[in-house]
Symmetry: C3
């Protein structure tokens, strides 16, 4: 199985090209579009969201993820393995939260590159073909020899620095505004005390916890633990992003002695 | 086969999560995304649109539909069968027009719920797993024992009230604005006399019928029977929604003695 | 394999209906969504984009493409074959650049039409069923007898005029604004000298070539050869469409003695 997560958006030929390449190179391997609007050109925020998708990524499968503002530059193309999954994409921190929270992990630099690789679309020309080869090998049961058996790589040592290695374990900022205008944060819902309030600079009062939408008065902002396990700010039957002027990157404070952070 | 229709939108991990769950639980069952922008949080308008998709839903398959503003509240999770299809989703009227127009039908309340069900995403955690089990059983030919053979249910009696049971048979309002800014209504095109005119309050004159776009003068509003069989208001090479200030919920009158309504 | 490219957009039941029809008529044939936002109702601009997707369309497969403003009118429904691919869609020039650049080709007019064909959705009711029958036959190895063996057609002679036959070989205008607000043109990147500058009326100076985004100063407009091989105007970390007021159809001049055009 190959799962895809990118910041390409659904418009244009970009996602379709990934599918076409994967279908040709791995015709028997099912493909899942996890999401294609990861935080755009922002591997850090994307990393916190991507990690939360791990529960739906089946063990023994490949996660092809591309948020790659440095495409064509010196950043490494990467294969990593963690928690029984194979990860393929740019080595810019996009997989950092997966690796950190699902240790032990291993990393390899991809050393080959097709001659026809477009400088601006490594997703199609480099990462997708590698993901396809891994997935085909996994379906064939060649697991002990991966990834060396199917792609030219260099194993990265554990002490080599990782892009994103200095990021915090949780991110007290908005990482994603969803289609309902709710604001997803980079905070783990299990770590935040339910008595904590979220305080946004310039906005009066603090935002309190509610277990669900139906528990919040209509029009009132509240925070809850969303279906990915992240702290999310919402307004029942309204727009949290609009009301509170939230956008990816918006910061906030946590008010509450036992917030667990 | 599993067909999906939701109001999740294409952004975010929501549709992708459905696919991931279905792929894991029913890997051999094909999946079709019918649409993911059903009228948002509006089971009533969605019901009139969803019913019109039945012709492309193959007999013997499962329709997983989620427009579920009451998720986490007391509304029942539902399985229904009608016209040889199995329907899975919230019992909030979303399937009402399918049931009513494709009687006889049967209904069951779903009684089990995985311990890990997120309060805000029954689509992923409750409905998709049930849809997958039904589809797998159908592929295995266990039809006589469904749904009891695969999920804990309680059969609903015919005289138990149905949410939406009091809705009209046709809905004289805009139920959906499509990507071309045409305004789909909840009226069956077969029931409306072609001489009828649609009158929108505050707009001069009445909107007349044209058989197709090419039969309408450029820039003129007209109504026609769309490819789903619904009355639709359009402007040839223009925006009906913009020109006529139409949005989901906009009402109108029918002018015409023999409108058949 | 069936590849789809349309201007339907992702909203509404239109793309989903194509999939449903294809799944029913050709259940064993994989489907790829190449893109569904081809230049809307504009077969000419769409033709230049569609041709650039040929490298990802596998030989021996079917390309179902629909940009069809004349649906329901006198334009012919078409099957064509070129470069080992089968093309199905309206005969309005949409395939013109594929045919011209991948000669020799053959063309057939589709003569049958299901009685239930909606006047506004030949994609679902006419083209998809034909594409499915071709793809099933191809999978069965009936290639010598196509398309006559599976659909009632009339072979078009080489000297019959082609819609779009008078279009230029390259189009010096914007054909598509992508999700990153870059402006794709109808110019082949291989034909334009790297010293050429793109001059937009009313904008001072000319836009120079850069090999990639990282080679352009932040905020500066430049042109490059995109991953489809087309000349594209972009602004590093900015919006080319917004900054330069570009939209599909925007024209420009090429400044450069050896521009190769």
């Amino acid at each position: 199985m190959i799962y895809m997560a990118t910041d390409f958006g659904r418009r244009g030929p970009y996602v379709g090209s990934l599918h076409a390449v994967l279908q040709r190179a791995a015709p028997a391997v099912p493909r899942i579009d996890l999401m294609h609007d990861l935080p755009r050109t922002d591997p850090r925020r994307a990393a916190f969201l991507l990690e939360r998708l791990m529960p739906v990524v089946e063990c023994g499968s490949v996660l092809l993820a591309v948020v790659d503002p440095g495409v064509g530059g010196p950043r490494r193309p990467l294969i990593a393995s963690a928690a029984g999954r194979w990860l393929v994409g740019p080595d810019n921190g996009l997989f950092e939260m997966i690796l950190r929270r699902h240790a032990p992990f291993r990393r390899w630099e991809i050393l080959e590159q097709p001659a026809t690789t477009a400088k601006t679309f490594h997703g199609r020309d480099l990462f997708a073909p590698v993901a396809a080869r891994l997935a085909v090998a996994l379906a064939d049961g060649q697991i002990p020899h991966l990834p060396e058996a199917v792609v030219k790589v260099r194993a990265l040592q554990g002490d080599e620095p990782r892009p994103g290695g200095d990021w915090p374990d949780d991110l007290a900022e908005v990482i994603y505004i969803d289609d309902f205008s709710n604001a997803m944060t980079g905070l783990d819902g299990k770590k935040l005390d339910k008595r904590a309030r979220i305080v946004i600079a310039g906005k009066a009062g603090g935002i309190e916890y509610r277990e669900s939408f139906s528990a919040a008065p209509g029009g009132a902002a509240f925070w809850y633990v969303n279906s990915l396990g992240l702290v999310e700010i919402a307004v029942n039957r309204g727009s949290a992003a609009g009301r509170l002027s939230l956008a990816p990157g918006s910061g906030f404070e946590i008010d509450g002695k036992d917030s667990g952070r």
